[in-house]
Symmetry: C2
Subunit: 350 residues, 2 copies
DNA sequence: CAGCCCTGCTTAATCGTTTAAGCAAAATAC
DNA sequence: GTATTTTGCTTAAACGATTAAGCAGGGCTG
């Protein structure tokens, strides 16, 4: 059996040039002692024959597969496209492939998925943990992308800073009574965003947090959140902790006849695909996934690849140069100054 | 160098039992001739030692890696989570891993990404093509998930049928003047959906198609689509060809003071994450990605794994048992009967 | 009882690469 | 001019599985 591989191997190049396979290996990897002229001839012959190294054989010999695992436990995470794209890109630039593992939100399935990755011999993995869960040590280096305040976090967007930027934006528009709309109270990310928002809004601002999952636990999934009533109570801005919640808030308010941004402002987080296509387009805060992915992959590779100094294959959480990457405020049409009637605390001018 | 693998290998089991490694291999794979008792003893010892086979070594020997590639050329496709999850799940059930390749929408990058996958020795790949592009033969079996009317398609949702269901739903509510809202005219998927919608709406219904990309080419990205004017013209339903377009339509109409579903109905396609959280929740049509993924993976595996009969490793487009999987209409709150004033063609009763 | 087949194992080659070790010849040192 | 290093290559042994081929011995047939 054993379907023969398509192209030529090192021995083919070696035979064609009358040298040994070891010399070809040394020439192409630049490791051993080979004369410059021969290196050139080998390179040329390899190109001529269309040589492609067998990563499988290399993996068997070296013990490293050049593949990283990517674990996203949160089911159908709408950030998936952004994250996957950034991680794959960063990994590809570093010469690594990315194997995905989805656990459909289930903890047992997740463990199983991680084991499948390990059996495939991955060199390391990137995990974006489900809200509030900690990742135990598995059998390989792990980069965790969560939020800087989580213990064991490798690198992440500075959610607190993002919240703070958004808070200052709303405060500068004159909002003094703001409803924060979150999904799940156990999310470290969302709690960091809340902290930043409160700090950015300042002490004079009045804040209240509404957790969607708590409301739904009582009234059922997809129930109204009662935001029109909140608007009537005098809340002039609804700062959601994710774009999904922002979308929910925006449509519920619109449906209730409350126009955004004239009557109230709505903001989100993450700049997901729909943020720019809804009317009014959402003011939100974007994470720099490209930089985050680069840092995470770099941190992994530092541990994986033998540098001569560091002990290799440390099977724990990896640390990065910096654990937080700034977020970027994107002001669109969903925010504006509050109605005069509500802007009690705003100084009349400026 | 060559970091030693963690666990024991076949030789370890063989040594512990005083047999040869070949016998261990035969026992565990059930291939050669080994006595039942010995098989049992070998199984037990393997379990006791915590033996994990080296997939890398197996790949080198057999020429098959047990890994499939997944290529999603359409940048930041919001269907990504659904697709990735379904494909990964189907592949995992069949004992395969999934390597991702993102091409950031660029054709050159896509070719490069596919080559990287091939160098990694994948056994086959699943491609969800960018609208309207055809996939050339690469060096391995390929399953294409697009739409049944595309030549070379392996398996896909029956978008025409989905459109037809939606058309009949709208017709039965009494809609006779419907605006179809699409993104790009070159999408096979969207054109199939249009065909189904028109057929489902019937001959008496008046249809017009609005392509967002055409409007944006004139008025700039994110511009208003003029839907309120369309409503004034007498359109009572806005059937978007994707949930993203539906979301855009819904928010633009709401913002224009047109309430959904009382004044006009809005529908989408795909049942994306936000369809159920917006107010009013979107009536849409869902594809059965689980079944589609199962069929695609099964078709690939039929070609990849030696059955004794079929020639293995045919490096072309793979065919499935069936090329189309029914879609499921999901009626939520965004559709209703048209306003009486507009329902000119509706019979007064029933 | 000779011949044959079947059973149950072993031996050894192989996949394609890496890398330690070895070994001439050339270059340098003293 | 001999002793030592350096250069440039080769040989061979891995990595861990699969699998064709071989080889005893027991059971069967005729």
């Amino acid at each position: 059996m054993a379907i023969p591989r398509s192209g030529p191997n090192m021995s083919a190049i070696a035979a064609a040039l009358g040298v040994s396979a070891a010399t070809v290996s040394n020439a192409l990897s630049g490791k051993g002692r080979v004369s410059p002229e021969l290196i050139e001839r080998i390179r040329a012959k390899a190109a001529e024959l269309g040589y492609v190294p067998s990563l499988t054989a290399r993996a068997l010999r070296t013990g490293r597969t050049g593949v990283l695992g990517m674990v996203l436990p949160d089911i159908a995470n709408p950030l998936f496209p952004q994250i996957a794209q950034a991680i794959e890109n960063a990994a590809a630039n570093a010469g690594y492939g990315v194997l995905i593992a989805d656990s459909r939100g289930d903890i047992a399935t997740q463990t199983e998925a991680i084991n499948r990755l390990l059996e495939r011999g991955i060199d390391g993995m990137v995990i974006v943990p489900r809200r509030g869960t900690r990742i135990a040590d598995v059998g390989c280096p792990v980069a965790v992308i969560d939020t800087p305040s989580t213990p064991g976090n490798t690198v992440a967007a500075d959610h607190w800073d993002g919240g703070s930027q958004m808070g200052r934006h709303l405060a500068s528009l004159g909002h003094r009574k703001v409803l924060l709309v979150g999904g799940n109270p156990n999310s470290n990310v969302q709690n960091d965003r809340i902290g930043g928002l409160k700090a950015g809004l300042g002490n004079e601002a009045e804040c209240e947090v509404l957790w969607i999952e708590k409301v739904e636990a009582v009234s059922g999934a997809g129930c109204p959140l009662g935001l029109s009533a909140k608007a009537a109570e005098g809340f002039t801005a609804f700062a959601a902790l994710s774009d999904l919640s922002a979308l929910r808030a925006l449509t519920e308010l619109q449906r209730g006849g409350i126009s955004v941004p004239e009557m109230v402002s709505v903001t989100g987080f993450d700049d997901l695909i729909w943020s720019s296509v809804v009317t009014p387009a959402l003011t939100t805060v974007r994470m720099d996934m490209g930089t985050i992915a680069d840092l995470a992959i770099a941190a992994l590779i530092r541990v994986i690849e033998p540098d001569g100094e560091a002990e290799p294959e440390a099977a724990g959480h990896v640390v990065s140069e910096t654990d937080r990457v700034p977020m970027q405020l994107i002001v669109r049409q969903s925010t504006g100054a509050p109605l005069k009637s509500h802007a009690q605390n705003k100084t009349t001018d400026q």
